[in-house]
């Protein structure tokens, strides 16, 4: 499955995405306004659209710099879709829900 590319228009693929377990990781910097917004927005998005099938890890790179190192970060806050593959990255406070859903390929 990891080798399989996602093809738009493929019904099975969408069904698959809708059932798939999402593993997300949000990188933030402490309690900065963007971070806080990003956390609140991400959490809400997950609860609304991925209820029961997501895992969210929020990493404060101030407090856990070693986690940041592993991920080749460019800008924070950054939301990373680790699963399903391929990996996707969104930068910002996640306030634009449509953009986030599109970016993470979640059916609205």
């Amino acid at each position: 499955m990891s080798e399989q590319y996602i093809v738009p228009g493929d019904n099975d693929d969408y069904i698959d995405k809708n059932k798939a377990m999402y593993s997300l990781r949000l990188f933030v910097t402490g309690a900065s306004p963007n971070s806080i917004r990003a956390i609140a927005n991400t959490k809400k998005m997950c609860e609304d659209h991925l209820n029961g099938r997501y895992e969210l890890e929020i990493i404060d790179i101030y407090q856990q710099p070693e986690m940041a190192e592993l991920e080749q970060l460019l800008a924070v806050p950054m939301l990373m879709r680790r699963l399903p593959l391929p990996e996707r990255r969104l930068i910002g406070d996640m306030s634009d829900l449509n953009k986030v859903l599109t970016g993470l390929e979640i059916k609205a």
Binding site: N34, K43, Q64, M67
Partner: protein, 553 residues
């Protein structure tokens, strides 16, 4: 574009590229729109972080490093920020804490309290104790939560400082334990105290009862009762004192003795009582007490010491018995005895004279029976004279008129002559003389002979079966001692106590004996007047040893 590639693959690649492009565009947009706080650049030394908007780094570090947990939650209860201390406290990795609902980590046992606290926290700053659940040990962790409303750009958040109270609780529980132990000890002490109090109360009541009992007893016996402290201070006088003397109960106790004692008795009374206090021996004295009508009445005063369990004297209990009537009766009796014996003596003397005249009648020979009758009459007369003399002595003693002519005499010699005399009178008795060394005393020959003969005749009188009598003379210290021992009926202890009293006779149905019971009384008075001691040692049925001691010259 590689035309060899299948269309679908190309489509997928295109799609992927589009995503990456969108991602890059979004990143740039986010940076441009100020949605980015920091850019992370990998430098030569490795990872580097560039903060765009410089947050309050000082406070941030402070919060990150502090010993308390710091958490910020939004209205929905989602953790927007948590320091690592809090994550460590509940045993969950920090990345799993942020973004979670804060309520999730609260121990189920106090969810309601938590909700209430947070609800309140959104209204005003507040504090409260909440238990968290340690996911590792599953034990509740007591914490103090202090909630502060935080104004963020997007609205309000609740910042919560979490202080672990575990060690404090431990100290508290230890303190509590200690407190409980203390409380227990205190309650034991209290219980003991209560018991003690109860027993003291009981004792007091008993004491009160017994005091009341004593008081009512003391107030109701006809005698006058008093008690005094070991130093002689009178601390109680019964009702009868006040009735008899007419004194008011408010009269200070220390004044009473002086007010009611006869002036002639007071000095002797004090002397004897002081001596009794000193020697701790019972006190006894006759003295006069002033009645409310002003007349003095004779009283017999006695006092005995009362001792505690260690033998210490705690109280003297005294009685004063009105013996005035008896004393007057006795005086009357003595007077009568005096007169009677005196009156008897004259006819006896003439009777004796006439009997002597009869026995010495020479004009014509007397018939033998008459001679015998005269002898019998003389014998009886002798006894009668003896009794009358005793009576006279008694009345003289009581009147204080017994006269002595005191000379230095050898007591041993006197005893020996008495023994010789007694052997003549009581030829059937085996009278042994033990001792005999010279013992010089100051005394009246006739009176001491009287004592000796009295003791010997007493021994004879009460030992009709075993006819042995032993008389010994010894000296011990500065006293000469004479002992008359018989092996007769002996005396009981109560008899021994009374034997020297006036008119006392040992009653024994088997041994009918004559006499008025004055002999030993007279002996005792004579020895007393010689500054001597008289006494008896005896066992009932085994005989008696009468003795007297006189000071050597």
């Amino acid at each position: 574009m590689d035309a060899q590639k299948p269309y679908e693959q190309l489509l997928a690649e295109n799609r992927e590229l589009q995503y990456q492009l969108a991602e890059a565009k979004d990143t740039i947009d986010a940076i441009r729109n100020g949605q980015v706080d920091a850019l992370v650049v990998k430098g030569k030394k490795g990872h580097q972080l560039f903060t765009l908007k410089n947050a309050d780094q000082t406070y941030r570090v402070f919060i990150e490093k502090m010993a308390e947990g710091a958490v910020t939650i939004n209205r929905e209860g989602i953790i927007l920020y948590s320091n690592s201390r809090f994550a460590k406290l509940i045993g969950i990795p920090l990345e799993k804490v942020i973004g979670e609902s804060f309520a999730l980590f609260v121990d189920d046992s106090n969810s309601k309290e938590y909700e209430k606290l947070v609800r309140n926290g959104w209204k005003e700053d507040c504090k409260g104790e909440i238990m968290f659940s340690d996911t590792v040990t599953n034990k509740p962790i007591p914490c103090l939560l202090s909630c502060n409303i935080l104004e963020l750009d997007e609205g309000l958040a609740l910042s919560i400082i979490i202080t672990d109270l575990t060690s404090q609780r431990e100290i508290q529980s230890q303190l509590k334990l200690k407190n409980e132990q203390l409380e227990e000890a205190r309650s034991i002490t209290e219980k003991l105290n209560d018991e003690l109090e109860v027993s003291v109360k009981e004792r007091t009541l008993e004491l009160f009862d017994s005091r009341e009992h004593f008081k009512s007893l003391a107030d109701n016996v006809p005698q006058m009762i008093w008690t005094s402290l070991p130093d002689g201070t009178v601390n109680f006088r019964s009702r009868q004192w006040y009735e008899f003397t007419g004194l008011d109960v408010s009269e200070p106790l220390e004044n009473i003795r002086g007010l009611i004692s006869h002036p002639e008795d007071i000095e002797e009374n004090n002397r004897r009582f002081t001596a009794a206090l000193k020697t701790k021996q019972p006190f006894m004295m006759e003295s006069r007490v002033k009645r409310k009508d002003g007349t003095y009445r004779w009283h017999l005063n006695r006092a005995v010491p009362m001792r505690n369990e260690t033998g210490e004297i705690t109280l003297w209990i005294g009685t004063s018995t009105d013996i005035d009537d008896q004393k007057r009766e006795m005086e009357k009796k003595d007077e009568f005895i005096g007169i009677a014996s005196h009156e008897l003596k004259t006819p006896l003397t003439s009777l004796k004279g006439y009997l002597q005249l009869i026995s010495g009648y020479k004009k014509e020979p007397l018939p033998a029976p008459v001679k015998m009758f005269v002898n019998k009459a003389n014998e009886a007369l002798g006894k009668l004279q003896y009794l009358v003399n005793d009576l006279l002595d008694v009345s003289k003693i009581n009147a204080g008129k017994l006269q002595y002519q005191m000379l230095v005499i050898d007591l041993a010699e006197l005893v020996e002559s008495c023994i010789n005399n007694a052997r003549h009178i009581y030829p059937k008795y085996d009278i042994k003389n033990e001792g005999g060394a010279k013992m010089l005393v100051m005394g009246n020959m006739e009176r001491l002979e009287q004592v000796m003969m009295n003791l010997v005749s007493n021994s004879v009188k009460y030992s009709k079966e075993n006819k042995q009598i032993i008389i010994s003379t010894t000296t011990s210290g500065n006293m000469a001692k004479v002992v008359v021992t018989d092996f007769g009926i002996g005396l009981s202890e109560s008899q021994q106590n009374k034997i020297f009293e006036r008119f006392y006779r040992v009653e024994d149905k088997k041994f009918m004996s004559s006499g008025l019971g004055m002999g030993l009384y007279i002996c005792a008075e004579i020895i007393k007047d010689h500054n001597g001691i008289i006494g008896v040692n005896s066992e009932l049925g085994k005989g008696a040893s009468f003795y007297f001691e006189l000071p050597l010259v």
